[in-house]
């Protein structure tokens, strides 16, 4: 199956890096990019139409979310996304925090939302770990 993955990060280098790592996993994937929380929320507007048009890659199965971004930061996105995901018929994606902050407060604040499943600090990451993480969550999707 094609893994549809959204990357929300204002730093182009970080998006590039994550895409490269995804390539190294040899998984079949499709990437949607957003530069901040507000742009990411846009992706989830008009949900049913978009899903009908492109059921293969929409909605994304994973959202890799940075915290520090202009306009709407990661936390702002999470609290807005909470309302979006409450809509009936919505299949919430797995949100993976992908940030340079290793602060426990930030971690607690993120994992407080049930759709946030992982918290990754940017520097401490390899392609192998990424593959492992994606596969673990994909198997739960497939089981469901």
């Amino acid at each position: 199956m094609t893994l549809s993955i959204m990357i929300v990060d204002d730093n182009a280098a970080d998006r590039y890096l994550l895409k490269r790592r995804l390539q190294k996993t040899d998984l079949d994937f499709d990437v949607i990019e957003a530069e901040n929380g507000a742009a990411a929320l846009e992706v989830f507007s008009d949900y049913q139409t978009k899903r009908d048009v492109d059921p293969e890659t929409y909605p994304p199965l994973f959202v890799f979310l940075d915290i520090n971004m202009p306009i709407l930061d990661g936390f702002g996105f999470l609290s807005a996304f909470h309302h979006v995901s409450a809509a009936p018929d919505f299949a919430p994606p797995t949100v993976v925090m992908f940030t340079s902050s290793g602060r426990q407060e930030d971690k607690d604040r993120s994992l407080h939302w049930d759709f946030v499943k992982e918290y990754i600090v940017k520097g401490d990451f390899s392609s192998a770990k990424l593959k492992e993480l994606l596969q673990a969550h994909v198997s739960t999707f497939e089981a469901a």
């Binding site: 204002d10 730093n11 590039y16 901040n36 202009p70 602060r103 940017k122």
Partner: protein
Amino acid sequence: MPQYDASWYKDTLNAMHDMVLVKGPRSNLLWANTAFLNYYGLTEETLIDLVDADHSDPDTTLQYVIDDQTVMVTGQSLDVPEEPVTDTHGDVRMFHTIKSPVFADTEVVRTVAVARLLKDAKIPRRSIGHDDAKAFVAPLQMLARSFPNPIAMVDVQARLIQKSHLWDAAFGAHHITANSYFGDVHPELDTVAKEIDACLRTRENRNITVTHPVDDPKGRIYTLQISPWAFADDVLGGATVIATDVTNLHEKTQELQSANEELTQFAYRASHDLKGPISTVKGLASMIMEDIEDGDMEDAMQSLQQIFLMMDRLKSNVKSMLDLARADLEDGEARDVDLNALLDEVREGLSAYSTNAGVAIENHLDIQHIQTQPVRLRQIIENLVANSIRYHAPDRDEKFVRVKSRETEDGIAIEVEDNGCGIPEEAGARIFDRFTRFNRHSEGTGLGLAIVKKNVDALSGHIDVTSSEAGTAIRVTVPSLAPKEARP
């Protein structure tokens, strides 16, 4: 059969242990038995027409008169289960008193009271009505009058007996009344009255903080220390209230707290802005290692280029943080600043950046000289111009930043105007907050306008922002000590 003459009755009444006193219609004493005369230190002659003895507490005297009048008017007996009566030494004991009307035909012409001692125990408090007590308190009152802090003295009934000149200056000069000063003259100082009562009850020090005037945000803040004072024989005499004006201390504490919060926030965000690029570089480096192992040199090169970009960003972040820190510390002398030369330097410093973005930095200076702190002004102009370049509108054919200056009523206005992409409306006043970025082109540190604002504040100037999709104009007006005309 004995003769029931006047002396027969008097002897009988004088034999009683209870106090018996007869009063006229104005509460004036007419007669009292021996028990009363002894307790009060009076004789049958000296009591005539007294309302009360000097040593008595004026408050209790007032209450006696009210009670007498009640009996006179209603023609009914009045039972006072407990009332304080001060003896000739100024000591107070509690009595159970019953006051009754004496009729002539249908009219009440006098009252008779019988007072029985409830417990033969002095209440360990003393009013200052008595001469000895007055003599003891007088020097204290004198001292209080000139005390180097606002101070108020109250007696055991919490009535004000003295206040200092400074107290009047702080809380207003009111006449001392027999009523509760804190409750009546200063109803807003009701909490003080409560604390004084607690102090008099427990004989313990109390401390409270009050603002005066109470609801005025600009009111002074005082800590009040309420302490009991006693006579030489340790009988409680009252309390003193000493005020200390802690407004400045309070302000300093708040300044420190907010500086501390700012510092904490700065440290967090600064660490984030330094750590972010470093984490990215670390990730890119490990990516390059994987690429080299796979023999994938083209991707490795691309990752290396990303590393250079991240390093530039890191360098600029560090510079901004240093600028901001310097803006806090800079306290330079105002000097004559040549705006033309300053703008040339700024242009020079940003030339690579502006060329790359295709933005022209134009000199539209009408005023060329200003008396101000050069380092601050330079940081202001540099950050504004850099912002204009950063947020240029890529689609426009001619992209410009115009730096203008002119003289205004408030000083010299320096305006940096661009035809860039504008500031989003929702940004509002938050554009001056640290680390707030509103634009999608987000390579900024979010410190630029924070640096500008800090410097403008330090120069006692102000900032006006106008922005639309056509571009942004930010005008900084700073006072110039001696603005000079443009050079020929």
